[in-house]
């Protein structure tokens, strides 16, 4: 028997026999999308939003059904390190909705803040509202639009934000036009003098070096935030000078009580923020002319 011919068949058999184990993950909803259909699953007391169930664990966002306040993902918790750089945000822009965790927590923390959320896929908005408790209000609006288009127009209008979260990256396909120097320059133009950009980026692939040099080219020195066991790296960049470590420590003590209910220990964050460049600084900068992000990942 030729194994090469039979191995695909064996794979199929193995998959079929493994199927009952993953069947505990129950699909409770499937939303049709112009992009990838959005699935909602429940498993082990967690409800998750997924884009692709066949390629393993591609959870976009999860909530803990027993304790909905508790943030499930490390990178979501890490993204709130931006508050150490600007503890009083008044105008917040979030690119990438997911389950709406980040804007909802921001709303709870800052009831007066104006929040704009950008999400390219209407299906994600529908699912977030129906299954993840996402709610807009008078000063909180979600725009179904490509982030690049909205940000370019906001710049022309002269809009300003003091807290910008870039989280528009689903694991599988990276929107390459949201990684380039030109895009980051458009983002920077929206920032107030005391504003901060919080970007969720890749910690492990080749892209790490490319993204690092591109952010550096636009923002200069920035805080790099990585944690063991997380495949994500958070970039914290500002329009002006970065605050000193002492300031970050003081703010982390002030914010501790407010963030603890979300299962965030913000006191751990300041020592992990570093401006040290641990990437290859000779890497080519990503531009609108050169952005092969999906080939680098």
């Amino acid at each position: 028997m030729n194994f090469r011919i039979w191995s695909p068949l064996l794979c199929v058999l193995v998959l079929i026999s493994a199927a009952p184990a993953s069947a505990q993950r129950q699909v409770i909803h499937e939303e049709r999308s112009q992009y990838r259909n959005v699935l909602v699953t429940e498993f082990n007391g967690q409800r998750c939003m997924l884009f692709n169930i066949h390629r393993g664990d591609m959870n976009q966002t999860c909530i803990d059904l027993r304790n909905p306040k508790r943030l499930v993902f490390n990178y979501t918790k890490m993204s709130f390190a931006g508050l150490l750089l600007n503890p009083e945000p008044e105008r917040i822009l979030v690119a990438g909705l997911g389950g709406g965790t980040i804007p909802m927590v921001m709303r709870e923390l800052y009831p007066e803040a104006e929040i704009d959320v950008l999400e390219v896929d209407q299906a994600v908005v529908n699912v977030a509202r129906e299954f993840f408790g996402y709610q807009e209000d008078e000063k909180h609006e979600v725009h179904v639009v490509d982030a690049r288009v909205y940000i370019k127009r906001a710049g022309l209008r002269g809009d300003k934000y003091d807290y910008i979260v870039l989280d528009a990256f689903s694991g599988e396909y990276i929107p390459e036009h949201l990684l380039t120097r030109e895009f980051l320059e458009e983002v920077k133009a929206l920032l107030t003098d005391d504003g901060v950009v919080v970007a969720n980026t890749f910690a492990s692939s080749d892209l790490y070096d490319y993204e690092s040099v591109t952010y550096q080219a636009v923002f200069g020195e920035f805080y790099n935030f990585k944690r063991a066991g997380s495949g994500n790296r958070i970039i914290l960049a500002t329009n002006g000078e970065l605050p000193e470590l002492g300031d970050l420590r003081r703010r982390s003590r002030e914010l501790y009580d407010a963030l603890a209910p979300y299962d965030m220990n913000v006191l751990e964050y300041p020592p992990l923020l570093t401006t040290e460049a641990d990437w290859d600084e000779s890497t080519r900068i990503l531009t609108d002319q050169y952005s092969p992000a999906n080939l680098l990942n």
């Binding site: 992009y35 690049r148 288009v149 929107p175 390459e176 895009f183 002319q289 050169y290």
Partner: protein, 216 residues
Amino acid sequence: MQQQQALVSVSHSVASRLAILAVAFINGFVIMSIELLGGRVLAPYFGSSVHVWGSIIAVFMLSLSLGYLWGGKLSLRNPGHRTFISFFIFAALLCLPIIYLADPVMRTIFLSIEDPRYGSLWSAVLLYFAPICVMGMVSPYSVRLLVLTQEHSGGVAGMLYFVSTLGSALGTLATSFYFVMWFEINQVMWGCIVALLLCAALIAFSSRHAIKEQTS
């Protein structure tokens, strides 16, 4: 009989027939390479949502369809290598605005059309219609230049579809797998322009060679 065949066919020699197949291949390659880059050209202004790809693919298909129609019409009157060569030169020249005018064109459209669906559609029309239409004219015209006898016409057309679509497949793969990794968008566009001019040179060279052969 001999006389009549000479009227119908334009390319007799093996060299010039091979040259026509080669340029059909390159033409197919270049079309898809430019189409793939189109998404990246439009993304900074209109995003990379599904509408933008919809606009690009629709405009390319429309341009090719009219190119086929007009190229076929042109082949009815005095078909010859000179017209064929001019297709490639025009196509190359019409690619220059994609390099030099894309930004001002898209900026103007971005400012006047709010909806990124129609913004991307009009940008795609303005930037890509003319060059891709001319590249579409190559296909029916090459059929005309290659067909010697009526009974072989289907085979000739099949062979041309084969090489040009094979070129398109390879152009798609090469651009998406490698070119965008190695080069900037405009560098690949210059590569396409040079390839089109090489097509013109190849046809010019092979037809001159063929004429010499015939007269000697």
